[in-house]
Symmetry: C2
Subunit: 133 residues, 2 copies
Amino acid sequence: MTNLLKNKKISETPFRKEVLAIFGRYNNAIPLSIVEKELKEYNRITLYRTIKIFLEKGIIHEITISGEESNYAVCQEECNTDAHHHQHIHFKCKKCEIIYCVEINKFPSIALPNYKIEQLEIQATGLCQSCNV
Amino acid sequence: MTNLLKNKKISETPFRKEVLAIFGRYNNAIPLSIVEKELKEYNRITLYRTIKIFLEKGIIHEITISGEESNYAVCQEECNTDAHHHQHIHFKCKKCEIIYCVEINKFPSIALPNYKIEQLEIQATGLCQSCNV
DNA sequence: TTTTTAAGTGCAACAATGTTGCAATAAATA
DNA sequence: TATTTATTGCAACATTGTTGCACTTAAAAA
């Protein structure tokens, strides 16, 4: 995790390390508001820029669910700006409201006549492991 | 289309009819900016409230793709606030950048151990019928 | 290790987007 | 047509995101 910034060729600053550490403490996607709560003090603008560059460099990816605050999670594999290669679905639990990136081995394939599908993103809602009892 | 507002039990005002007519003229999802362009003159607040109530009543649904303006499209089937029952995927063409709701007959099913999946939303990117030549 | 260069940060100011209370107005109902 | 209920528009505000510029820090070169 520490050398992730170097790997992606961006400067390793205390603030960026701190933000990255916050993502590391969660095993689910988190919104900006949680990042802000975890930071003792921070500069709003710098945080925006940090999130922006993390997205650009493929360090984190964004999960947008209609009508909700954007969520962010660390990328698992080799991602970059143009292509995020995730073999997972974004699962939002209706009860605890947490958004998880759930790994899936047999990713569904879809064919549409005359369309050329290059990428798929799947968002699911329901009950997560903890709430499905 | 005209009695859609009555069906959903909301008042049938000139403005709402006009907004609905704009959606009717497109066979793809459109962002707020296009609705605004098509309206000669309008009140920003009223438009927000109109979109909001259309969403709540299941007249339109929202399509959010990371890092992009929200898009809206008329619901095809019986939808309401809590449940949007679409048998379609949201397809964004990389070339023309238009977002389509593409009907699909065999909607994929996904099973995740210990999770209870209630709804699936699928977003695809690639080339649409027109651009895939 | 020190110097140089390049990149990141913080401030001020701004731009865009979305919301609320309230009075005026229009639509639905009786 | 009269009454009730919902919608609209204004003003004002709240939130979210952006930009230019000076200052500071990190990375690279000497």
